[in-house]
């Protein structure tokens, strides 16, 4: 058993367990912490796939920024009383089960159908590279420029939209 396999087993196990805990745990603050753990484990998996840049971005953007805001809001609203579980309708569980089975079946089917991913030959455009970030930047600003710009416009729209929604009345 190689070291890589051991790390993979630990990281993926942690990811699954903490993702489950995120859903199951009653306290919202602990849910957020479990989600942080999940993202951290996913970052370790990215490192195993020799994509440290993606791993770092995962931790910085999700674990470091977005979830801190989640935690901030959860703490600010002090949602500790959610544990009582009010307003639960029987159809909720049924709908949840249907969604889980459908999504899980879809994922399982796709995973089983798709074979092993193609491994780029060493010395190819991506193979044998120690510094992936310049390549990523070049690709973003040449081949995928349109998608990149469209995404940034989308982000801008989201930010403006949030601003307008939260500030209904303009003087």
């Amino acid at each position: 058993m190689s070291l890589e396999l051991v790390v993979f087993a630990i990281a993926s196990g942690l990811a699954i367990v903490s993702a489950l805990a995120m859903v199951v745990v009653k306290t919202p603050v602990k849910s957020v912490i479990s989600l942080v753990l999940t993202f951290f484990a996913l970052a370790v998996l990215s490192i195993l796939l020799s994509a440290p840049f993606i791993a770092a971005l995962q931790v910085i953007v999700y674990a470091g920024a977005i979830l801190v805001l989640f935690l901030f809001v959860v703490m600010l609203l002090n949602l500790t009383q959610e544990a009582e579980g009010h307003d639960e309708r029987p159809i909720q569980k049924l709908l949840g089960l249907v969604t889980v089975v459908a999504l899980g079946g879809l994922l399982l089917g796709v995973t089983l159908k798709a074979g092993a991913p193609p491994v780029p030959a060493a010395g190819g455009p991506i193979g044998n590279v120690t510094d992936e970030i310049p390549i990523l930047g070049r690709l973003l600003f040449s081949d995928h420029l349109l998608a990149f710009e469209a995404l940034s416009v989308l982000l801008l729209l989201a930010a403006v939209g949030a601003l307008i929604l939260s500030k209904r009345r303009f003087d």
């Binding site: 603050v29 912490i33 970052a43 770092a56 470091g64 801190v68 901030f72 703490m75």
Partner: protein
């Protein structure tokens, strides 16, 4: 000794060395300097009883913190309350891994000379690694505030998170400019670029200022100590902590300062330049950084290459970053 064993032993020695320097040498002096400085500003002596000029005050404090009773309040969230100090401490210690603390060293052991880069892990995402872990450190403060089940702690935690989120952006952009110029996210590459061109603190003086201010805010130093705010919040997020756990918050905070200073020094000045050049960055807190060990070792007489692996002992390497391409750390991927 085979190459693999040597690499592992060298890595362990480097890790222990950095932690020893940071925690046992820099941290107590930093605490002392801050307390004596605050004393001077407030027209009082400050700690001046333990040892010469009160220099051993930190040692006495640590012993006191270890001896005290560890009180856990009844209505705290036990899991998160106990976890929070560790979450604060861990990122600070892990961050030291990517900060270079010296030029590569040639070590001769048993007739074989090996090249040892004085950085624990020369990863190609160095700066992102630092930001990733420093952004995780805030969870310790926020969770401490929440788990304590105390409104003052809660306010402190909220303030800390708001402050760190807002200053992280300016710190990131200020740091990014230095790395854009160097064309690499590796800290050694940035130092190398500055050595061959100009210190970043000169052309990017305002970036340096923003960086410095953001670091003050990120590490909760005055005048950005909203998270503690003794006047309003008792002690902020660590109101309910005592003894060893309080000590861990304290040490984590100062370890963070040391790591951040290391980042400031390496990204805005070519620490390791030849002697005799004028120092454009005189106002910099370089005294606190890991690079100070390098400055000290420069003046020590150069002995033969078998002098050992410690950078504080004599070195035979020339003070350049050259040869790094052949000496990439094996843990760089």
């Amino acid at each position: 000794m085979s190459d693999a064993t040597f690499t592992i032993v060298a890595a362990i020695v480097k890790i222990l060395l950095i932690w020893a320097i940071a925690l046992a040498a820099l941290l107590p002096n930093l605490v002392w300097a801050e307390r004596r400085g605050a004393g001077m500003i407030q027209d009082r002596p400050g700690p001046n009883r333990v040892g010469p000029f009160g220099l051993f005050q930190a040692v006495a404090d640590v012993i006191k913190l270890f001896m005290k009773e560890d009180v856990t309040p009844t209505y705290v969230d036990k899991l998160l309350y106990n976890l929070a100090p560790w979450i604060t401490m861990m990122p600070a210690l892990v961050t030291f891994a990517v900060i270079p603390f010296g030029a590569p060293l040639d070590v001769t052991l048993g007739g074989v000379t090996r090249h040892v880069p004085l950085i624990i892990a020369d990863v190609n995402i160095g700066i992102l690694y630092i930001f990733a872990f420093s952004s995780l450190g805030i969870y310790g403060i926020v969770l401490a505030g929440w788990a304590s089940n105390n409104k003052y702690s809660m306010m402190g935690g909220l303030r800390a998170s708001a402050q760190i989120i807002s200053y992280e952006l300016s710190m990131g952009f200020a740091a990014a400019s230095t790395f854009l110029v160097a064309g690499s996210l590796r800290l050694p590459a940035v130092v190398e670029w500055q050595q061959s061109h100009v210190w970043n603190v000169v052309p990017q003086f305002f970036g340096f200022l923003i960086f410095l201010i953001a670091v003050f805010a990120e590490t909760n130093r005055l005048p950005f100590d909203l998270a503690e705010a003794e006047a309003e919040l008792v002690a902020g997020f660590h109101t309910e902590y005592s003894a060893f756990k309080f000590g861990m918050f304290f040490m984590g905070e100062y370890a963070n300062i040391i790591a951040a200073s290391g980042l400031v020094v390496t990204s805005t000045s070519a620490a390791g330049r030849s002697r005799g050049s004028p120092s454009p960055a005189s106002g910099e807190p370089s005294r606190r950084s890991p690079s100070s060990s390098r400055r000290r070792s420069r003046s020590s007489p150069s002995s033969s290459g078998s002098a050992g692996r410690s950078p504080a002992s004599g070195t035979t390497s020339s003070w350049t970053w050259a040869g790094r391409s052949s000496s990439r750390s094996p843990s760089s991927t």
